[in-house]
Symmetry: D2
Subunit: 396 residues, 4 copies
Amino acid sequence: MSFQNPVFIPGPTNMPEALRQACYMPTIDHRSPVFGKILHPCLEGVRKVLKSDSAKIFIFPSTGTGGWETALSNCLNAGDKVLAARNGMFSHRWIDMCQRHGLDVQVVETPWGQGIPAGTYEAILKADKNHDIKVVLATHNETATGVKSDIGAIRKAMDAAGHPALLFVDGVSSIASMDFRFDEWGVDVAVTGSQKGFMLPAGLAILGFSDKAIRASDKATLPRTFFDIKDMQKGYDNNAFPYTPPVGLMNGLKLSLDMLLDEGLENVFARHHRIAEGVRKAVDAWGLELCAASPEFYSDTVSAIRTPEGFNATDIVTVAAKTYGMAFGVGLGEVAGKVFRIGHLGSLTDAMMLSGLATAEMVMVDLGLDIKLGSGVAAAQAFYRHGQASARKAAA
Amino acid sequence: MSFQNPVFIPGPTNMPEALRQACYMPTIDHRSPVFGKILHPCLEGVRKVLKSDSAKIFIFPSTGTGGWETALSNCLNAGDKVLAARNGMFSHRWIDMCQRHGLDVQVVETPWGQGIPAGTYEAILKADKNHDIKVVLATHNETATGVKSDIGAIRKAMDAAGHPALLFVDGVSSIASMDFRFDEWGVDVAVTGSQKGFMLPAGLAILGFSDKAIRASDKATLPRTFFDIKDMQKGYDNNAFPYTPPVGLMNGLKLSLDMLLDEGLENVFARHHRIAEGVRKAVDAWGLELCAASPEFYSDTVSAIRTPEGFNATDIVTVAAKTYGMAFGVGLGEVAGKVFRIGHLGSLTDAMMLSGLATAEMVMVDLGLDIKLGSGVAAAQAFYRHGQASARKAAA
Amino acid sequence: MSFQNPVFIPGPTNMPEALRQACYMPTIDHRSPVFGKILHPCLEGVRKVLKSDSAKIFIFPSTGTGGWETALSNCLNAGDKVLAARNGMFSHRWIDMCQRHGLDVQVVETPWGQGIPAGTYEAILKADKNHDIKVVLATHNETATGVKSDIGAIRKAMDAAGHPALLFVDGVSSIASMDFRFDEWGVDVAVTGSQKGFMLPAGLAILGFSDKAIRASDKATLPRTFFDIKDMQKGYDNNAFPYTPPVGLMNGLKLSLDMLLDEGLENVFARHHRIAEGVRKAVDAWGLELCAASPEFYSDTVSAIRTPEGFNATDIVTVAAKTYGMAFGVGLGEVAGKVFRIGHLGSLTDAMMLSGLATAEMVMVDLGLDIKLGSGVAAAQAFYRHGQASARKAAA
Amino acid sequence: MSFQNPVFIPGPTNMPEALRQACYMPTIDHRSPVFGKILHPCLEGVRKVLKSDSAKIFIFPSTGTGGWETALSNCLNAGDKVLAARNGMFSHRWIDMCQRHGLDVQVVETPWGQGIPAGTYEAILKADKNHDIKVVLATHNETATGVKSDIGAIRKAMDAAGHPALLFVDGVSSIASMDFRFDEWGVDVAVTGSQKGFMLPAGLAILGFSDKAIRASDKATLPRTFFDIKDMQKGYDNNAFPYTPPVGLMNGLKLSLDMLLDEGLENVFARHHRIAEGVRKAVDAWGLELCAASPEFYSDTVSAIRTPEGFNATDIVTVAAKTYGMAFGVGLGEVAGKVFRIGHLGSLTDAMMLSGLATAEMVMVDLGLDIKLGSGVAAAQAFYRHGQASARKAAA
């Protein structure tokens, strides 16, 4: 474990020093008023990152998966009907969780590489005259395929169908890195974690609930205690948790939120887009293709890159780790062996990203792919470089 | 937040520097072989701390409460009958969780200050001819009252009744600080967390399952995904987790286990007993009484101390925090306002403990209690001091 | 190295967490503008701590000893005459350094336990009609004996004699803990280090120079390069050092200065006095005496405590370290074996100090001294405790 | 200060996490035996890194400049004659220090870009029949020009002349990164610092003295106290320093030495050579030239790169810092504005180095230099990449 190179997995992401130090605080009494000064700024900051005025924010010592379970178990009853699209490993896993909790999932099978088909959702919702469907699930950013879906379009589909279902959105690998509009999109539950855009260690499930989702929890009978939002809310009302809170991680989250909001959310999103666009230029220069089928689906946090037929893409990840000490992501599920993934979210600079691209190139050449060394790097450099005007100004 | 004084809450406990540093490691790829080198030593070390040869160990990014839910949801079905004693706030909360998960709890109401009545359990189990009771719950150390229960006696009661129920033990505030014998006591599920005897931040639920408990999970139908031990086991078999693992905390756990096992478990337990005994000498010198009704119930990790009738014990905690920057624990539930608690587990020295006792004395005198300054400290010093032979040897 | 107990040596002192984190920042380019944002606040903050409007501040990667050498080598010529009092090990060492640099030191031998005799200084200076004496040395706080000298009185003596000598003050164990008035006292060079009142690791010599001292450096011919203040000043004028600066330590100093100035210097001094007074109450309760001969000499940063005739005071330090893991200071030079020292400067709370006193009591009893356990603690507690009014307010 | 990118200044270098943590230890009593367990492994480890069996090692809380002063002031008398070559800013500064300490320096002016001319040294030494020259100075690696000198050849020149002068070597930017042979080369004093090959913060001057140099110190009359090696040796003999030691930094040095010796010195040197060679391939691909005049002078720790006539090389450093947040080194003295420097020593990976090269390319293109983006990166990649055999093995 040399810790020298940055990581390029799509989360956990590289941790800024200041966040590590914030997490690394000594023990405090979590029942003292000090904890409230960590808790409430976290709740308020997350609400801002979600672009919501009124969402209730919940933070659990858990992960995004625990966040999904929180969404389901607080709002639904066994046997309830749920609409979901399967277009990657993470949407698949959420569907699987629904089924294991006794929900009746109507699955819209979608090619891996494409986003959620809002039109299909609309048709299904229109056909659901009895409003049996209680919840519509949407994975904002499929981490497995590097595919972004259009949540606003799904809301429009729901509205067009006049359907009262709740809208649950998995924003684990989008929130705090890509634009997310809880209020504007009419999201009812948004789910994320600490280890992606928030640049922290794994260990927090972070959720926003609309009033409608909170009301649904009054009647929901799926069993829950650890993930119960009412217990959690009671805790918050007393500056506390219903059990021992993860104080250090939340202290880190507080600082992460300060950093993100100080930079400005739009700047954060633009920075992610810029870094991602450089990666895409490199992929193009390599003569390779993204798993994401078309530009509208391109993710600004992770790129899944298809390798030629007959080549095992996982070898790239293995060789990069063993030979160059650099971490990329493997393909999962349907695209295992067919893609490798470059995570480009969180705390990254042009220089860091170029080191990732340069290493990927060496690995691909080592493995016999027909890639020209420096070609992807040059394409990204051409995109990243600031130009003569900027240089003249800096040098002045 | 001055972080200058040690904390004397009954967890989270004071973190040794080395453990803090181990926890806040930079990001690694949790799908790389590096993670396996953290995971497996954790599993093996926890098994040793539980004194078990064969328990399956599970570690979740959660807390002790999540550990309880893991125990219930993996082994039981809605409507199953459970036997439990309520003798403090934590046993109360576990009972409450059972009820919220649709279990039928037979509650043995027990005075707060006493341990679980093994005889009563035996009688109930003998009367349960149909073996309707599927699980016997036992809180090894009631953190709210500073009361230890005799788990070996409960096992004997179960055996005397010839009853096949599973035995679930909450060892959150005992494991790694007080003797715990998973195999000898025939425990089926043991539950603990990272933030007590393991001296780490909160954020890990740590469990041991017997084969019998694992088998029970084959048929258990309570819904679960995040806390599913089968998914987790499949993850472990691939050096992984079914979702993002809390790598840093587990790296801390690995080092904590090394530290505990290097010191020797019996030495760790003796150290806790010694520190605790000094606290009890001080309480006696103050003319106060423990909540624990008799010596057999005395906890070596936390002392709940009764204050005189008409005095609000919570004031001690408030004044200590505000005036002296020191954290003690309040009374909870039935004993709220009647006791204050001194946590004395984890990483503590005589000198640290004496600073806690000295501060408690100042606060009690400030609040008008009839306590002689220095009296409790002197009683603890007389117990802690090493004596002339030791001094002569050290000075030589 | 358990790092669990606070240290009670008279420096290096206990480091607040925030300062440790500030010191161990990652590498930056020390020739970039970033360094200027660390450097200049350090210079300005130190000037404020010295209570000077115009002193030039110099910071060297060195220690207090290097600071002394900086003072001498920048202002003096071989053969120059210097006036100094020897009343402890540190004033002795400074005299020794002068002699090794070829200076002619007129030594005023002073009983260890007493301060610098201003009257004697005045008589000598009056007698020095030719003004051969170029510098008057004064150790503000003799760390070896816990004796404070009255620097204002020395300035008055110099003025009464109408003597133009420079006044050099060793404030290593006083500055940032005890009142120091560079301008009011007409100090020409003040010397301190990072590891005492500034609560940082050792590694910085910190000095203030008056204009007069700066002018003296124009003609001073003692050889110097590393410690040359002119080179250093040229560096500062370019936001730099003449060699690689200790960036992390200076980043720590910047934060330390913020902390001290935010607390308020008078509050810092009052806090030190209060903690020290509690220690003195304990010493009195033990029936022991300070090395400092009378209250006017009592140091608020370190107490040297005399032990009975025939007892080896160093044993206290040895046994405390080996048996209780706690660090006190030994006696040095003339008072070796006759005193042990309790450092009470820097980042300390009442509770921390009481843990030191309680441990010292156990050690002394272990070693057969006729001390009553708890007696010193009780005396300090009675002084430290806040009283009923404060408690009622806090509890409200 | 984002701390995200590695630095490419020729020191201070990038600090491995483990070293930062080792430096970042809490306060210990530096007079306790614990300190000896840090001190002696440091002394022994440095001796091994110097490839010496018997050199006395001295570590001062200072920098390389202080190390130079230690060498001079402990071994020489005012007026002593010294032989030195000036071939860059650091050799220049050492000569300047000699002159300021009253030494008579015979300067061999040498083109910046060339190494020390051993032949000229030999001729001068042969001509010095009276052996007036007391010390021969040699800068092993001129950090300003990226020029390595052949110290073995200088020893041969001295031997050929039968001259008894001492040989002082500045190894600040070579030791622990490039081969250094104290015994074989007959070095009398070697000087280095903590912030280069040892990968630590600045703050330690580290020296090796031969017996002959130690003997010279018996008669040397240049004034010294802080840098006195006899005082220091007396300290070491008691597991101590003559003043407060920089404990944390030395704890870091201890671990750094373990890391270097575990890796194996020859492997460390090979790694530096490899990284450096990649940089030189890139420089060649850019069509630029090194300041170092020929391959025998190429430094494996820093490359000074000449830019075209009329171009201000310092702009590269300014723009890299302001626009890309990356630190390179400027040209100093004679080559100011004519070269920029890439430091490639200490803790670096291929990927890190490629990020530096890629950034330098963008900056040069931004500034209008005729450089092809990706060209230098590709040349370095071709050199760094491990090849198909290695990849096949890793993937297997």
